[in-house]
Symmetry: C2
């Protein structure tokens, strides 16, 4: 689950369609999604950026001998799909990201496609806050990240 | 708060000091930390990787006119310090990251130093699970991410 607060500021003139949307323009059930494959280059870039070079993510031989059998995408990299959807689409521009709960329920393997979905589950118009359900699902239908 | 499960597998021979630690080697109060500055290059790399090009992160002019006055590091990038500490140090090698709760309590600005701390708060030896307190604090002492 995730909490965000869409703010109506600032709205530069002449950028039609890119302004921050008011909380009144959203409804429970609004939903956006994105599909993505985290390939080797993405996983290595995230390892560099985060400093997390855990062998399960970056070492084929180690991963093969582990219970997973294959290299696993960093959970936090998979979860970065949420920041993209929330920061860019729903609620998008002007959002203040207040929090995110993450449960890593199944591994996402390097090179496999996943789909992230963000859906509005509650709107508190008085406090100008929205609650979003956030899920990443693997191609086999298994939920990998639930928040 | 974060949950992890250190697994005693696999332990390649001849890699002294790099093997996965058993859960019996950890104690409540064990603590690791790291200091980091997220500079412009790191924020742009994360924007590329996640697809989150929200102006608050990447556009100086927009950020200046916003309530924050400066560009803000993606919350999820700041939180990547946890995956580094958890994946590499505590519990480190062999860890399965089960979940992470994140509250973004204050903005982290591009170029400012922060400190991430991970501390063991509970150990369930029967289920082989550890609970960790995870915090990122700004140089002015304000907590920025609490989990």
């Amino acid at each position: 689950m995730s909490h965000g607060s869409p703010l109506p500021e600032p709205r530069p003139a002449g950028e039609k369609g890119r302004r921050a949307r008011s909380i009144d323009e959203f409804a429970v059930g609004d939903r956006v999604s994105v599909r993505r494959v985290f390939d080797d280059a993405a996983v290595r870039a995230f390892a560099e950026l985060s400093g997390d070079f855990n062998e399960l993510h970056v070492d084929d031989g180690y991963a093969r001998r582990s219970r997973f059998g294959r290299r696993v995408v960093h959970g936090m990299l998979t979860a970065s799909l949420f920041t993209r959807l929330i920061g860019m689409e729903l609620p998008g521009r002007g959002t203040i990201y207040l929090g995110q709960q993450l449960r890593f329920t199944a591994p996402v393997f390097v090179g496999d496609e996943v789909e992230a979905v963000v859906e509005v589950t509650a709107i508190d118009r008085a406090r100008r806050r929205m609650t979003l359900a956030t899920t990443v699902t693997r191609a086999d239908g298994k939920p990998a990240v639930v928040g």
